[in-house]
């Protein structure tokens, strides 16, 4: 199998000059989401969910967007700069952008003040209810203070008073965002930061026309709908049926409407809601979809059978922005609410944790993610790739990998070290036995009950643990939750380990590392999954504290990005070496597609991935060869 594939790849390399079949591009793109991922709000400022953003970024243009290489490119802003080392950032807007309604009627001009209005909305407690505030709080001066102010105002004088606030007055005084003129927007950052522009791809930095609020009111915008919102982006919603489909049509007033080469758009984009990933494959077969990401089972069916009609069309997708890790729960409770001392003692032991690191060859598990090419999705770093890079072009994540002495070039699962594993196991066993831990240690793991793919993966993990740790040492128990792991499992401290994925919202390692620090409320994983703050083991606390100090020290470096990244890499390597968390995979899946993924927006952070602009498509299904060529050309 593998040989065959490498042979194919080799052939492709040799024949890379091979011309593509001269087929037509797709005019109407049929794509999909699974039913659980239906859009929840049409208010671009209110949402912080990928499912919403994937839609909204096509309807409203933020200041900046990404291209297919992950670089920042202009959207609403044609240029951007900081003249003071990142403390304030100025954005120059395109001239002549229009707000239109669903019918394409021009409603207003796009002005710099729209971003100010939007920021006021986001950080006004009574308008946005506190959602989407985390990045403004972190990055925009005065945002948090203004939020507190509105909250108090609402409490003291009622919601309406707070809702009545506008971008003038108190907001202008307090918050660091200003429209110098109609086309110039200036942000004042909380501290000097070079990565401020990356955050401008994110929806909390999107615009809102005050005239829209004037038209539909605060509550009207809260309950925004395709028919009520205004558009500046490449598409307008033509029709929307919740739970069924969304149809995008071109926005005739789109700023780049006439630039059909540089800003190529589909005539229509139809997003179908489908029952499951497996259904996508069926629908692709019947021609009802233009691409289908293959669940491992679908993939196996095709790859297992060379006579399958799609055998030659299997292509590997580009990795998503998410990095997946195993998180340990340091304060595990049983179902009945009592502490699971056995696990808590075991996981506090570094040797035990490191066993997950050095003691597991996860190739088998990775096959459940990428059945053909499991090592393509190996992840040795906590941070995702391409989030940030040194001035010499070195990627930050690669620095972390290198710092551990690992490399993705290997054709084996490199982190696994049999000798070290044996030693660690002996050490863990001895130390834990002394601490009164009984073996085998049970590891409670939770998956979504309705998800067959997760079940298969969990079984693979269970088997891997059984193979490498031995059933006498540790046993993985598979449990299920109904819909929300955070609420049903994590909030109750029920699982021993979690496999979570984190994708960056902006281009700096702090976005990853700050989720893991000790003793800080904003550290999402620490507070909601690992409960490291509740740990009692002194060694563990010491390690955590050290890591936190290293992270904060790195974050304090604001004048030299290279030094900053070096320091972060050091902190992250420390974090990983002490196995506070175990990176496990990147999402690299296989698909059948008529879309050239390499032309799609590639955003290692933020939410621009699903902007349907400049996508190259073909009404013939791409073959593995085509894709190999695309990858090579990249």
């Amino acid at each position: 199998m593998k040989k065959l594939l490498s042979f194919v790849l080799a052939m492709v390399m040799i024949l890379s000059v091979a011309s593509f079949a001269s087929a037509d591009e797709i005019k109407e793109l049929h794509t999909y989401e699974t039913q659980s991922r239906e859009i929840e709000t049409w208010n671009v400022l209110m949402s912080q969910k990928a499912v919403d953003n994937n839609v909204m970024v096509n309807l409203v243009d933020g200041l900046l967007t990404n291209n297919n290489k992950g670089e920042l490119i202009p959207a609403a802003a044609k240029e951007w700069y900081s003249e003071d080392g990142g403390a304030t950032w100025t954005f120059k807007l395109n001239e002549g952008m229009k707000w239109v309604d669903q019918n394409g009627t021009v409603k207003a001009d796009v002005k710099a003040s729209d971003w100010v209005t939007a920021m006021e909305w986001v950080v006004n407690f009574s308008k946005n209810n506190g959602t989407n505030t985390s990045m403004p709080f972190q990055m925009v001066k005065g945002a948090k203070e203004y939020y507190e102010y509105t909250k108090e105002l609402a409490a003291a004088e009622g919601e309406e008073a707070a809702k009545a606030l506008t971008a003038d007055g108190k907001f202008a005084e307090m918050v660091g965002v200003k429209a110098e003129d109609d086309l110039t927007l200036v942000y004042t950052a909380t501290y000097p930061m070079s990565y401020f522009p990356t955050v401008c791809t994110y929806t909390s930095f999107y615009p809102l026309s005050p005239e829209l609020i004037a038209e539909i009111g605060v509550d009207g915008y809260k309950a925004a709908e395709p028919a009520t919102i205004w558009y500046t982006g490449p598409y307008i919603i033509e029709s929307f049926t919740a739970g069924n489909e969304k149809v995008f049509k071109q926005n005739p007033e789109y700023f780049y409407a006439n630039d059909t080469e540089g800003h190529k758009r589909f005539e229509r984009v139809i997003i179908k809601m489908i029952e499951s990933q497996d259904a996508a494959y069926q629908l692709f077969q019947t021609g009802e979809l233009d691409h289908a990401t293959l669940s491992p089972s679908n993939l196996n069916i095709i790859s297992n059978n060379p006579s399958n009609e799609f055998y030659k069309n299997l292509v590997e997708a580009r990795p998503t922005k998410y990095s997946y890790q195993i998180h340990f729960n340091f304060d595990k409770l049983f179902e009945d609410g009592t502490a699971d001392e056995n696990w808590n003692k075991a996981v506090a032991n570094e040797a035990f944790r490191q066993l997950f690191y050095y003691g597991l060859d996860l190739t088998q598990y990775l096959r459940t993610i990428n059945a053909i090419n499991p090592l393509a999705c190996v992840n040795y770093a906590y941070s995702a790739n391409n989030v940030a890079g040194k001035s010499d072009g070195t990627d930050y994540a690669a620095m972390v990998v290198a710092a551990q002495g690992l490399s993705y070039a290997s054709d084996t699962y490199m982190r696994y070290d049999a000798d070290k594993a044996a030693a660690l196991k002996a050490q863990a066993k001895e130390e834990l036995t002394a601490a009164g831990v009984t073996f085998p240690v049970s590891i409670d793991y939770y998956i979504a009950g309705g998800d067959q793919t997760q079940l298969d993966r969990a079984n693979a993990l269970k088997q891997t643990i059984s193979d490498y740790f031995g059933d006498d040492f540790a046993v993985l128990n598979i449990n299920t939750y109904v819909s929300s792991i955070a609420k049903e499992v994590a909030a109750l401290h029920k699982a021993s380990i979690y496999i979570n994925g984190w994708g960056a919202d902006f281009g700096d390692p702090i976005n990853f590392l700050s989720q893991e620090t000790y003793g800080e409320d904003s550290a999402y994983y620490t507070v909601t999954y690992s409960f490291a703050n509740n740990a009692t083991d002194e060694n563990l606390i010491a390690v955590y504290k050290e890591f936190t100090d290293l992270t904060n020290a790195a974050h304090a470096i604001t004048d030299d990005d290279d030094a900053r990244y070096d320091a972060f890499a050091k902190a992250e390597a420390y974090f990983l070496e002490h196995a506070l968390c175990v990176p496990i995979y990147y999402d690299v899946q296989w698909e059948l597609t008529c879309i050239n993924d390499y032309t799609r927006v590639y955003s290692p952070y933020g939410s621009q991935t699903y902007r349907y602009v400049n996508w190259e498509t073909n009404d013939q299904i791409y073959t593995s060869e085509d894709y190999a060529a695309f990858a090579a050309a990249q």
Binding site: D278, S295, P296, S297, N298, N300, I301, N304, N305, N308, E335, Q364, R367, T368, A371, I447, A448, G449, G450, D451, Q452, L455, D456, N459, A460, Q463, N477, I478, N479, T480, V482, S483, E488
Partner: protein
Amino acid sequence: MSKQNKIKSVQELEQPVVDLSIDYNTVDQEPKKERPRGREYPQSRSRMPEKQLFEFAEYKASDAERTGYSNYSYWKSVWQNFLRNKPAVIMSVVFILLFIFTFVSPLISKYTVESIRIDYDRMFTSPNSEFWFGTDNMGRDYWCQVWFATRTSILLAVLVAVGEIILGTVIGLLWGYVRKLDRFFTELYNFVNNVPTIIYMTLIALMVGKSFLIMALAMIFFNWLATARNVRNLVLMYRDREYNLASRCLGTSVGSILARNILPYLISVIILRLALAIPGTIAYETTLTYLGLMDVSRPSLGILLRNARSFFLDYPYLLVFPAGIVSIITITFYLVGNAFSDACDPRNHV
């Protein structure tokens, strides 16, 4: 012509059948000792002179009372009638063998659920001498999974079915018999019945958990309705029968009346309900599994079916085995239930 006519005439004609199963006039009589009667008369006319033929025979009134002798037993007749229904008998034998086999299979199969391994090199192996039911999408032996799943599902189904029938019967009995409780149970019935149970199941799964036992209890708790209503309507039918009035007249307690006077009459319905509840539960389990409301750590038929849905076009055997077993179970209980409830009907006892 119609069945009821038949029944009516059967009843009419049948009555003496029960009354008098040994008859003086039967030709194919057993030896005398079997027939407790007082007088003797010659077996053959040729032995008797004509004169004697026209003499009065001796008459004993007390003999008439003995005519009631019968080896009829209700349950024996039920059983015999049931045995007469060949398809039901065959299917129940098949089912019993199947169920026994779920316990035996780990002993004879090459793999067990505990020992099967993921092995991508042998995924989707068609049934062969090594893997009797082939392997699944992860290269695991399907044979042992199917049998394990069958056992799990049957156990769940039996547990839930028995539980729901017991609960439904108890509620139905009280609901029908105790007039004061009628309002309460009617409201409870409306309460549970008028909202899709899936809501309650989801809420329970969210709030309490979804271990085998919890889900089994939840299913029991929300599935008793049909049985209870059925039982209740029957109780209303029997409640004011004279034999119950007789018991009340004798001061029999409500509990005894329900247990001894009414419950035995409901057996056929209860068995029928039970028989239908078992495949019903398996089907329900499939749905719940699909919705992610069941424990999935061990194979059950619901999980296998859910999984097979993605492959069955290319690898039909993955669907055929579990679906076949579900069908066997369903058809068995369908037949057995009907056969048994027919057999319980005394009108069918000849």
